[in-house]
Symmetry: C2
Subunit: 554 residues, 2 copies
Amino acid sequence: MRIALAQINPIVGDLRGNANKILAFCQKAYARAADLVVFPELSLVGYPPHDLLEHSTFVEAEARARTALARKIPRALGLIVGGLAANTHRPGKPLHNAAFLYEGGQLLGSAHKALLPTYDVFDERRHFEPGARRAVVRWRGRALGLHICEDLWNTKPSTHTYYNANPVAELAADGADLFVNICASPFAVGKRTSREALIAHSVRRHGIPYVFVNQVGANTELIFDGSSCVYSASGQPLLHMNGFEESLALWDSEAPASSVAVPSENATGSLHDALVLGIRDYFHKTGAFSKAVIGLSGGIDSAVTCALAACALGPDSVVGVSMPSKYSSAGSVRDAQALAEALGIPLTTIPIKSLVRAYDDVLAESFADTVPGVAEENIQARARGTLLMALSNKFNYLLLSTGNKSEMSVGYATLYGDMNGGLCVLGDVLKGQVYRLAHYINRAGCIIPESTLTKPPSAELRPDQTDQDSLPPYDVLDEILRRYIEEQEDLRQITATTGFDRALVARTLQQVDRSEYKRRQAAPCLRVTPKAFGEGRRLPVVMRWQHASDSSRQ
Amino acid sequence: MRIALAQINPIVGDLRGNANKILAFCQKAYARAADLVVFPELSLVGYPPHDLLEHSTFVEAEARARTALARKIPRALGLIVGGLAANTHRPGKPLHNAAFLYEGGQLLGSAHKALLPTYDVFDERRHFEPGARRAVVRWRGRALGLHICEDLWNTKPSTHTYYNANPVAELAADGADLFVNICASPFAVGKRTSREALIAHSVRRHGIPYVFVNQVGANTELIFDGSSCVYSASGQPLLHMNGFEESLALWDSEAPASSVAVPSENATGSLHDALVLGIRDYFHKTGAFSKAVIGLSGGIDSAVTCALAACALGPDSVVGVSMPSKYSSAGSVRDAQALAEALGIPLTTIPIKSLVRAYDDVLAESFADTVPGVAEENIQARARGTLLMALSNKFNYLLLSTGNKSEMSVGYATLYGDMNGGLCVLGDVLKGQVYRLAHYINRAGCIIPESTLTKPPSAELRPDQTDQDSLPPYDVLDEILRRYIEEQEDLRQITATTGFDRALVARTLQQVDRSEYKRRQAAPCLRVTPKAFGEGRRLPVVMRWQHASDSSRQ
């Protein structure tokens, strides 16, 4: 059987556009003599649809569009698509997350997702009822073990312990001779490797080959890498599709099996490609913007954001803005210019001195007899944020915000100032990774100026300021943050493992907790780790638990 | 049996503070000769804890604090508290949402919540495993039918169809002679009435009296009204506690039953009280602020927000700021002054003309040959937002944002401008309700000036502007929004039911969808309807479904 893996990039909710895309892929697959073409989870809907699923009109339209699509494709081609199935055994949630097999316009079989991820960014229990039973779908002499994404994850070496059912094992017991997983598994650095370890374990355990088709593309915060693949019954990779791009690949189950080399995951390279895809899809899928605009301070975060944007959209679609204040060093302004030249983007310069003076003047009476401090520093950041939004409003620019995860964690960012933007590119990238990204961007020649890479990081909001006046060294900070945010470790665990100073760790955790109110109002940030700020990390703004204190005294 | 209902206002995560509060209530109950005292759901944790539950240190600390608490209370007093129970039958989620009965420091019985709300603002499937079986807890000759909040909701007249189990019926079948529900049921206008209809239905069906203890107080977006009560076996209310305040009440199950009058719910009055509590608790529970600050435009939204804040915090803790531009009418400035005088709060005036001119100057080159429009209008809003944040940063003021739900719905608000603030007071209140609130505030005399109530609403960002230049009349707009947002109706349903112009409805729904990116960055807003913006309404920012178009063409 010739099976086409259709790694498509859908737009959430665009039933018509996605159906047209699926139809075009079906025609390509048929032209290449495929018997069966397989699309990712919720193929016409796009993942994640969130509360669109609560609108009955949307749910009904999906069913109509899917049925119409199945009638349009070549009659001899089998089609596996993801979609919405009504839960006919109420009570329970109204929908199942389903996979459907069509041929000649007829529905021949289906499967309902059994393991519904409800953690981190996933809310599937909010809308879906788990599938009750697993059975193979028999078609053209094969017994297809059809299942969906998370259904794979109750298998070693996964550490998930949420689920009683193991759909893969149940399908094997029902006589499956080919596993087919349709998926929308979001990217995180290292995720592809763990996913494939699960697949390899499953095929070896059951002796059944495995076809895995994953969504590609970014939808708001989530980036999907694709990296669809086929594994043989003995655990050898037979097909491996490129990450971060739409494509169609063909696998012939009757052809002599020959193992392919799976490129090992380059952490910084895949991070780079994921962020580029994240910017590109946000820009094009919203379709609301003429260009992207970025405030260039001469620092590393804005330089990396700008280089990623130029790579994603092309230099003609990116505009840099330099907004020097009286605290901006000549070097910073030069670095911003050098970056813009290296990228081939225009740089507009708008000095903010007169603006800051105007604020000082109107606030003089209110601020009389006070000592200059954070209020004055933030005025500079907010004047810049207002200028960037003025350009955004006037010219339909997408403003990209440039804060990194280390800063966002501890609140070292100005709300309504440098946090302004439609998308935060580096919000899930720790400072150390930002430097690695910068070196990766410079791999074929200098784009980000050397001095941007070597000077001490500074917000330049007061004379001679550096980040390390307020923060621990970034390698220490990043390690604390990774353990606290991604591993949910506490003060005791972090100090015990790292040997870092207890007071320093405590102060850092407290800063993270106290900055929750800022992050609640941050732009969506592209998720590239297992635990990003945003949809996947839900904490009360008003709360009084102190992770930083000795828990026995609280 | 003398049962004390302890309607407490906990702070999320404040294990020590909440335990001290519970202990004090226990002592009061004991002094009043109670046999048993009952606290709300997750008593020591506070509701909702969200992902605090993912920190093992927190979970362990809760168990320690609860055990220690049980040992400290009078030995003869029974104690029912909500807390976290480990799920000892893994796989599954690690925790149960539990009710515990203690006496003399010993744990005598418990119940695990069976119906786990996972919709709207609720994420209980994210952290909890449903309780597997229901059994009464026998104590001092009674068979207590202990259950938790949502466990009541699989009963008529509820329309929830999510659940297979019916804990109330199962406990009745197991011989319960007294239902005890510990709860954290968030306020919405009309919710108390529907809750009590469920209770009355349950007691009549099973012939068993019902003790209902609900959390009171606000935690970030959610407001809990309390309104704890006791119903007799025949469905008569025997006890009814005031909403929106902490208190302790006693009910003697052996005393002759006498029905009490339950005050009918005054929609505007309860809305007012809920918002006042929401402001007060946000302010005091964060403990970070000296005063609240509000930009007073002379319009109705800022006037109502300011009056609510003065009621919540006292006039000495509220500061008004008037920031007239060249488009501000003399009447608006007068109205802001009159309001401040009526409330007895100080009013600072900071004209923004020079600031707007400074922005115009630095942007002159970039904006050359363009027509003034939204970009210029937003600069005014952002200059004001920056001034308010400067005062907030300098003096530790809590900035309250003043946008109402009608504006937030259609995006008639400036991101990083008038949307600035730590808490959005009216973000779940439609414009028509804002007027009703204003009249309620004026019920005992004029606080909000007559002209604020009668003049046409205007953002005053360009000459002679009124809201109705851009928006339909507010009574029409509000009806469309209520049906779309709260009822999930679509274009076809709304036009069929209301007879409103199809193009008008379509344009409104499209405005709602296109403003999602603004709301994603909005301040938390106090939830007072069944569907507020924020945690309970999750929609993709990047998506292409058009609720406003004919679905058959998408």
